[in-house]
Amino acid sequence: MKGILKIAYKLLVNDKGKFAALLVGITFAVFLMNMMTSMFAGILNKSSATVINIGARMWVMDPAVKTVASSIPMPDYVLDAVRSIKGVRYAVPLYSGGALVKLADGTYQNVTVLGLDDASLFGRPQLIEGRIEDIYSDNAFIVVKDSEYPKLGSPKIGTQFELNDHRVVITGLARVTTSGLFGVPTLYTTYTRAIQYIPNPRFTLSYILVEPKSRAAVPYIQKQIKALGYEALTNEQFMKKISNFYMYQTGLGTNVFLMTIISFIVGLSISGQTFYTFILENLDRFGAIKAIGARGRELVYMILFQAAFTALIGYGLGIGLSSLIIFLAKLRISSYAAMVTYRNLALAFVMVLVIAGISSYIGVRKVIKIEPFDIFRG
């Protein structure tokens, strides 16, 4: 079998023009599919940035909340009610809201403000400069040093600006796992200061962060909170909810889906047609080999090998190229929302296998049908 596959390999790669066309088709398709799905994954990841960065096991919220940025404030008694549920180790409040900052040069900048529980500072970011206890000093805020950080004039410890006519003093610079989707810098402060500085409606409690006593307690907690008229989600469930919103309610998912399908069709068209031409050109020789004594399945193995080999090389090139582009783009634009995930890689791989399968199926049908007698008959 090795020998016949080597013949198949040489037939394929020695036909440089067609081999190149096949590779271009598959590489292009994989490149586009991976770019699209990676951008989508990046957007979804960034849309859940606060959930990831805060790191709470469970989030309590109004059932109408669609994304972490669109919180619906809850009354304070909900916090007490949640704390009283059996199975809750602890529960803390979280403020999440937007504000307008006036910089030293007089320009304004939108920011996201996260107010952490004053007592525990649960969900605090990892500081790269400053001390966490300084958050309790007057007007103290911690700024996240991410790709949006320069929009605040790259503040240092001690830098001051205005937030809703309140003085803000930067007391720390922090690092987070993921920066947000909307290109807005993030400030951390205490819950009390956040609700004091930012005008609020009647209720101020954006989320309640819950640590269950055990994983087994989660369903019971969720049931009890549902009875209160609110919703408790694990961090994975919350991220899934946010993803579903962007995927199904914004048109983003549909666009990405369509683009992925179009990429697939483009790849299939180029590769399928080229592979079909390749088979047609060699059909009489395949017939001759069959006349000489090759079994039908040996010819099928040859074609499947050629299709699989091309698909794998094209897949590698496509993934490599798209990953390189994403890497270079992130070097230039650190907030570039694209993320290559195993799921994307698997999806592109499956799509490529389908392309190879359909292309080779056409070839296999032709080769199986060719009768050695046709070679004699001309």
């Binding site: 037939l11 004594g293 079994r295």
Partner: protein, 238 residues
């Protein structure tokens, strides 16, 4: 029949019938043909276009199933074999030289010749070494690394012959071997086959209309309208 009388039977065809299509579209290509061919002889099948000679040769070589009749090669009724056994029969017993050669243009001459050996599961390196030996037989050893498109028509024909003999077949089938060659080259090729490829353990059957090469035949079977119209001694037997 001087040659035939002293030689072992290679092929025995009995009452071969082959038709294509059904109903009004039915065309009978071969009508009850019976003949014998022997080891050590070069048998020509001659006749006008559409006389059924290629169809007959295809049934003899195990690539086209007859509607009735039988073909016995070396005492074995080949049309009682399964498809896989038939493929093995063609690989081990029959060598084909096609009219248009059907060499893979993207493979080297050596790789083309090695194909039957590779199909016989001979290792790659050994197959390449043996391919060189067969190319030497046809005088093309020094062309082994070239692709067929870089060779002349006569050289390509010789590569096709090397490929056909690579599996050491007992029965060699040539389909119009001189059709794509000029007169001199055609004659030289057939002369070469007669003197270097034919031996007492091999039977060569050639479909041709080219009377310039009749002198090399032991016997010439004339076909017309799907039937044998005569069996004559060739130039070699006269």
């Amino acid at each position: 029949m001087a040659a035939a009388e002293n030689k072992n039977l290679a092929v025995k065809a009995s009452g071969l019938v082959k038709w294509f299509g059904e109903g009004e579209a039915k065309t009978v290509a071969v009508r009850g043909v019976s003949f014998e061919a022997y080891f050590g002889e070069m048998l020509y099948i001659e006749g006008p276009s559409g006389s059924g000679k290629t169809t007959l040769l295809s049934m003899i070589s195990g690539i086209l199933r007859p509607n009735s009749g039988s073909v016995t090669v070396e005492g074995k009724d080949i049309w009682n074999l399964t498809n896989d056994q038939l493929a093995d029969f063609r690989l081990n017993t029959v060598g084909f030289v096609f009219q248009d050669y059907h060499l893979f243009p993207r493979l080297s001459t050596r790789e083309n010749v090695a194909i039957p050996l590779i199909l016989k599961k001979v290792g790659w390196d050994e197959a390449m070494d043996r391919a060189i030996e067969y190319l030497e037989v046809v005088g093309l050893r020094e062309r082994a690394h070239l692709q067929p498109v870089k060779l002349s028509g006569g050289e390509q024909q010789r590569v096709a012959i090397a490929r056909a003999i690579a599996s050491r077949p007992d029965l060699l089938i040539f389909d119009e071997p001189t059709a794509s060659l000029d007169g001199d080259t055609g004659r030289r090729i057939v002369d070469f086959v007669k003197n270097n490829i034919l031996n007492d353990k091999r039977c060569i059957m050639i479909v041709t209309h080219d009377n310039r090469i009749f002198e090399f035949a032991d016997r010439i079977m004339r076909m017309e309208d799907g039937m044998i119209k005569g069996m004559e001694k060739g130039g070699n037997e006269k």
